[in-house]
């Protein structure tokens, strides 16, 4: 039986992680990941179905090697795994090698764009049916052939810039930039994409999040000018933590994915342990002319390792 090379790669990496290598400094490699599955009742306009979904379950390897006192090589290889049916085994996620030091970090590989990263945890239903990528935005992108620079933390200020190569003389290269500021209470930032979503595309995203005691509120606004059509979208989210419980709500409107797009989600998480939770949610989404239509009731479990 032939085994595709991409399926074997993570095992090969895991097998060699503890092995010493020829390097000046200590080698540090770590395996991590999460499994997130939900049992869902889904109604997308053509009858109710029950489904088991794997929600961006993943396996990752990351590490660093100290080159000298002020410079380290860093790497990360992260793959999505389909915990529900085994399809798309080891689909690539963030994969890079780079250098890091007091100057910040420079990486090269495939990675989430700075615009996507800026969203942080404002989307409280990320990777679930209520994920903003389904209705609110078309700019949650992970791009290949990227070189990205990330500043170190500078008194709460941070910035990222990515140059994305098209590898095609007929297609313009793309750029994604973000900058923001954060402290223990406030997180705020702006991001700009040029030619990322499409060659003729400009996107501006603004986010703000506030953490006050057990409350967290967040907002995202985005304007998207792609192929001559300018649309915008917004999303608000709120969370209240009570002991091991987190109660969440989120709603938004957008014309970026489809005209008249609307979505709202309600949910609750219960932490069984630091890295294990069970959760439930209800999500509704719609758009003009039923271009998007669905309601979802789900119960799930997530374990991080």
């Amino acid at each position: 039986m032939k085994t595709p090379m991409n399926k074997m790669l993570p095992f090969a990496i895991a097998a060699v992680l503890p092995v010493a290598a020829h390097a000046e400094g200590p080698i540090d490699g770590t395996v991590y990941g999460k499994v997130n599955v939900t049992v869902e009742s889904q109604d997308e306009g053509d009858g109710n179905v029950m489904a088991l979904e794997s929600n961006a379950s993943r396996l990752g390897f990351k590490g660093k090697t100290k080159i000298n006192d002020s410079l380290s090589a860093i790497y990360q290889l992260e793959y999505e795994v389909a915990a529900d049916d085994g399809d798309a085994v080891f689909k690539q996620r963030n994969i890079y090698v780079g250098l890091a030091g007091d100057f910040g970090a420079v990486i090269a590989g495939k990675h989430d764009t700075p615009t996507k990263l800026l969203q942080n945890k404002i989307d409280l239903f990320n990777d679930l049916q209520g994920d903003i990528k389904h209705v609110i935005t078309a700019n949650e992108n992970r791009e290949s052939n990227m070189v990205m620079y990330s500043t170190p933390d500078m008194g709460g200020f941070f910035a990222k810039g990515a140059y994305i190569m098209s590898e095609d003389s007929e297609v313009d290269n793309a750029m994604s930039l973000s900058a923001g500021w954060q402290n223990d209470v406030i997180y705020a930032g702006l991001a700009y994409d040029d030619a990322v979503r499409a060659e003729d595309s400009n996107v501006l995203r603004g986010v703000v999040q506030a953490n006050v005691g057990d409350f967290q509120i967040g907002a995202l606004y985005e304007t998207d000018d792609t192929n001559g059509a300018t649309n915008d979208g917004w999303m608000l989210s709120g969370q209240y933590k009570m002991g091991s419980w987190a109660f969440k709500a989120q709603a938004g409107q957008s014309d970026i994915k489809k005209d008249g797009g609307e979505t709202f989600s309600l949910g609750a998480d219960y932490k069984l342990a630091k890295n294990t939770k069970v959760f439930g949610f209800y999500t509704d989404k719609s758009a003009d002319d039923n271009a998007i239509e669905g309601s979802y009731l789900g119960l799930g479990m997530e374990h991080k390792f």
């Binding site: 999460k34 660093k64 992260e78 942080n120 945890k121």
Partner: protein, 144 residues
Amino acid sequence: MMRWIALLLALMGSQVFAETQLDDEGKPCESLVDLSEAGDFHRLHFECDKKPKVVTAYEAQPSGASTPAGQNKVATHDRAQVATGAGTEVLIRAPLPETGSVLKALDQLYQQMRQHCPNGWDKNNEWAARDQQQLYLHIRLTCS
């Protein structure tokens, strides 16, 4: 039915205990999955990538050595009693008498906890196990 309701209420009210890794500024570190998703390379690869320091405040009995039954004079914290920093994990133990009160063992353990973690602690877990013929009460804690 009332038993199930009581169990549910107890679960709802219980706080999840967790061992939390801290960064240099004492802020709790997110899980590696979350750090990766945030794209914060320094936090992922450096600030939150330190292996937690573990201090074992006793030495296990060498194999072959024996402690007479009922003798509770085994050194239980014969390693340096130095105060440790936030995030350090400490293993301590005290001999448990075969019969009678365990208060003396608990008192010894709490003294050690105060010495090792003067700023407070989270108790990770507690268990009893024999080392040779002596039963010990062990506690694993993380200094605040």
